[in-house]
């Protein structure tokens, strides 16, 4: 519906008749005040507004309308016989009009303008409605996501708790098995070598299980919210080498290291990453050759394992190279999966958790890992770590 505002009755009649003739529904108001009242009550798609009226004039009406959200989008077409000077026309646009027509006007042109503006209004309205719906949907989705995230955090916390309790409770009976086996062995089996062998197998198996449970426990702890601090990779590597001292000596391994940069990370986890990678390399060494490991790093330009070297790059690529038994690269995906082993337990020790922990630690640090290898020709593990970690809003620590 179109609203015509004019203080002269004859103008209202003629314009209404013209619009009716072209199938436009039209309403009329005799004054600015009446127009405002009607606009509050009804919905109009165009207002044809006389400029000079007693009381509120057209400009004032337009200014009032553009100041209200309900009426802001209704196009206003000024129509004036008196104020045809340029400054009146400018004022009309400034007060919120979309067009300014002076009398006498061409009815055809007026009708074309009416057609254009009403169509524009309808389109604007539709767009607004779509926008509102979209905003609502985004809000709903965001709320749903926040909820889902909360639930996920809660269930993740529960799962960690569960893993911790399960591991702890699994250790209990195992501790008894070890204790009492040892007691029997010490007190009663001194003269019975065969029984002593059996009992030593029981104890060895218990020890393996204890390690396994500890590793599962470690893995579950990796899901904690990370607290990144500046962390010297050199230090992490040295700590890992210290922890592995006995194993290294036993294997007569030679380990060559080159300086590594400092990254933002979790120091103990990065130590564990090196420790697992090195102990993996030592485990899968060739039986006839003492292991030689080369560990070095370089700064690279981007988050890609093949990113070009760049002295001031934001990422650090680390190579852990060994001369061990290697593996067929078709198994590359398998080696990082928990409990996956490429060799029989009688050939090489291990429980298939070490590298899955490494992968999880690197993912925690927003990094990447891969390996290049050939059977019998050694393996290179390639790790990519960012120097800086994204700043995140850390949730409050659980009690």
């Amino acid at each position: 519906m179109i609203l015509i505002v004019d203080d002269k009755q004859e103008n209202l009649y003629s314009l209404k008749a013209l619009l009716r003739l072209h199938l436009y529904d039209a309403d009329t108001a005799n004054s600015g005040e009446e127009a405002l009242k009607k606009i509050l009550k009804n919905e109009y798609e165009l207002i044809i507004l006389d400029v000079q009226m007693p009381g509120m004039d057209g400009y004032e009406v337009a200014e009032t309308l553009t100041g209200h959200s309900r009426s802001r989008d209704i196009p206003i077409l000024f129509l004036s016989a008196v104020n045809i000077d340029k400054r009146f026309i400018t004022k009309g646009y400034a007060s919120g009009g979309v067009d300014y027509i002076t009398k006498p006007f061409d009815p055809d042109i007026l009708l074309l303008k009416v057609k254009t503006f009403t169509r524009l209004y309808r389109q604007t309205k539709e767009l607004n409605e779509i926008r509102e719906t979209l905003e609502q949907k985004v809000e709903q989705r965001t709320a749903a996501l926040v909820e889902a995230n909360k639930a996920l955090e809660a269930s993740n916390g529960e799962l960690q708790q569960y893993a911790y309790i399960a591991s702890h409770d699994l250790q209990e009976p195992l501790r008894k098995i070890t204790t009492f086996s040892r007691l029997v062995s010490d007190r009663f089996l001194a003269g019975i070598p065969q029984a002593a062998v059996y009992m030593s197998k029981v104890m060895a198996a218990s020890e393996r299980m204890r390690k396994l449970i500890n590793d599962v426990l470690d893995y579950s702890k990796l899901s904690d919210t990370p607290k990144f601090v500046p962390c010297s990779l050199d230090q992490a590597l040295q700590d890992a080498l210290t922890d592995l001292e006995l194993f290294i000596r036993e294997k007569q391994a030679q380990i060559n290291t080159a300086p590594l940069p400092t990254v933002e990370g979790i120091p103990d986890r990065l130590r564990q990453m090196f420790q697992n990678l090195i102990s993996n390399a030592l485990k899968f060494s060739r039986k006839d050759t003492p292991p030689v490991l080369n560990i070095r790093g370089e700064r690279v330009a981007g988050k890609s394992l093949s990113a070009p070297v760049q002295e001031q790059g934001d990422y650090c690529r680390i190579y852990i190279e060994d001369n061990g038994i290697g593996f067929n690269e078709i198994y590359l995906n398998k080696i990082f999966v928990m409990f996956q082993r490429l060799h029989g337990k009688d050939e090489y020790e291990g429980n298939g958790i070490g590298l899955s922990i490494v992968k999880k630690i690197i993912q925690r640090h927003n990094g990447l890992i891969t390996a290049e290898s050939k059977e019998g020709a050694g393996t290179v593990f390639i790790v990519l770590l960012p120097l800086k970690q994204p700043v995140i809003n850390q949730p409050a620590e659980l009690p």
Partner: protein, 149 residues
């Protein structure tokens, strides 16, 4: 005056561990009187009974039903009649938080239950030898015993 036989109190809900502990204690020193309670509440009730002979040392497990070792420890240390008795935390946990909390709350030392009975034997021998001497000093020397580390 003749010295009374030393009294060791073990507060632990694990009957296997209690059994082993008592057996080792008898081996170490047949004159030691062994008392036990299966949770913190029972321990406090026994200690606060009028006719009781207070133990020379209390071994306290942490994870127990009804009243756990953490709560029992703070009750002990807040009781003027009991706070002088050295408390040895004797548990399967080696959690840093458990260690730091119990040591702050007045435990004399923290022992992770060994799986090798020889080690338990050694610890009990050492404690039995110092029971009438500088026991707290001896326990402080052990401070934190974890057979795995």
């Amino acid at each position: 005056m003749e010295r009374l036989a030393p009294v060791f109190l073990l507060v632990d809900d694990d009957l296997d561990d209690t059994f082993l502990f008592e057996e080792m204690l008898q081996q170490v020193s047949p004159t030691v009187t062994f008392q036990n309670a299966i949770n913190g509440k029972e321990a406090l009730d026994k200690l606060r009974a009028a006719d009781t002979q207070l133990p020379d040392v209390i071994f306290l497990d942490l994870n127990m039903p009804r009243m756990d070792g953490r709560q029992c420890l703070s009750e002990l240390k807040n009781d003027p009649a009991l706070q002088h008795i050295p408390v040895v935390i004797y548990t399967t946990s080696a959690h840093p938080k458990d260690i730091s909390q119990t040591m702050q709350n007045g435990a004399a030392c923290f022992i992770t239950k060994p799986t090798d009975t020889c080690e338990l034997h050694n610890i009990l021998t050492m404690i039995a030898q110092h029971v009438h001497g500088d026991l707290k000093g001896a326990l402080a020397h052990i401070y934190c015993y974890d057979p795995d580390s």
